[in-house]
Subunit: 205 residues, 2 copies
DNA sequence: AAGTTGCTTGACCGGCCGGTCAAGTGGGCG
DNA sequence: CGCCCACTTGACCGGCCGGTCAAGCAACTT
């Protein structure tokens, strides 16, 4: 939060290898607890107890409980976006790119249930909603770009690309929740389903 | 709310007209605050202060903060379901029924932003998630029923009706969030968009 | 050896939390 | 009129919250 150019990292302190390790340990355990019990119900004391360190350790690495949470969110959003871009690769076919993007998104959601739960909560809390909106805007922009290209090439009927991108997001989130958390299907199965419904709706061919 | 068949209510108190009014007042104000500031960050003290009564009044009408929240959720879910059923009416045409259901759902979401926000939070908190799952199951069952009928009549291609119902829910939630909360479009505009995307996906005719 | 700095400890702080309760208050009804 | 009871009050409770800090420890550098 000190370097004006770096938006995502606290990186205010010089850390040794041991320090970086401790930091990651705290992040990992906090992610687990926030996902399982919720952000507000999980206290800082519980986190440090769970890791087996004193309370001061937490405030050595993070300015506050909120800041830790925001860092978890930012890192997860970045990972999702990068995973999606990598999965698409350098394709020329817009339709193929769209499908690959949807599939990668669904797979990421399926494989990161904890982070998904954090996302869902964060959207409902005004303190974190703006972080979520920022990340979601980038994700939607990526997808809308590809959809727009497909419209220009006449590959799909003309429709608001942003609306479609949001719809894809909504389908992915909802179906992941149902088919991964409740019914415990395989991620690939989920991805196929999401792609199919996104493409065709309920009346499509 | 008093009928013994209603599983949501426990031992009720005999309320006078004045009592019922006070109760509704507390529910209304709590809904407002929970939606604006979140459930955990809003204290019981803030609620009674906002209404202008002593703290004991709250616990005269509600057993706990959690119970009040659950009652708000149950009532809202019921209202959504009833609104949807009423909007569909006694139609014979399955496709028409599906579209009317989607439209009514989207309109309800657009017209009840506070309750929508409560729903979103409640899904992320284990204490309330089971209430939400129960309500959502009923909503999805209603929709899946209609979709299933449409498949049987050969009006739409065969696909898992439950998956479609969940997809519709996901699209509705996501697009409402974007087009009502952020961009402030008219509810009817949103409803049209949701119906169109649900029916056709991104590649549909 | 002495100094520097990264890291750790855990008692402590003021404040707020959800919830309780003994003591009223007041409106309707016999 | 007098009583009952639905309703209201607000001080109070034990407990936990996020966050602080003086002090100690450990691993390098000089």
């Amino acid at each position: 939060m000190k370097t004006p150019t770096d938006a995502s990292q606290g990186s205010e302190r010089r850390l040794t290898a041991r320090g970086r390790e401790r930091r990651e340990q705290l992040i990992a355990y906090a992610t687990l607890r926030f996902a399982r019990d919720g952000f507000h119900p999980t206290s800082v004391s519980e986190i440090v107890d769970g890791v087996g360190v004193g309370k001061g350790v937490f405030y050595w690495y993070f300015a506050s409980k909120d800041e830790l949470f925001i860092e978890i969110l930012r890192a997860a959003q970045q990972d999702l976006r990068r995973t999606q871009l990598k999965a698409i690769g350098p394709t020329d076919d817009p339709l193929e790119a769209i499908e690959a993007g949807i599939r990668a998104g669904a797979l990421w959601m399926a494989e990161h249930p904890d982070l998904r739960r954090l996302f869902e909560f964060a959207r409902t809390d005004e303190t974190f909603a703006k972080v979520m909106r920022s990340g979601q805007r980038q994700l939607v922009a990526q997808a809308a770009q590809r959809l727009s290209t497909a419209v220009e090439h006449g590959l799909i009927p003309p429709r608001d690309p942003e609306a479609l991108a949001h719809a894809i997001l909504g389908i992915t989130n909802q179906l992941t929740m149902v088919y991964i958390d409740s019914a415990q299907r395989r991620p690939e199965e989920l991805a196929d389903l999401v792609v199919s419904i996104c493409r065709n709706g309920y009346a499509g061919s």
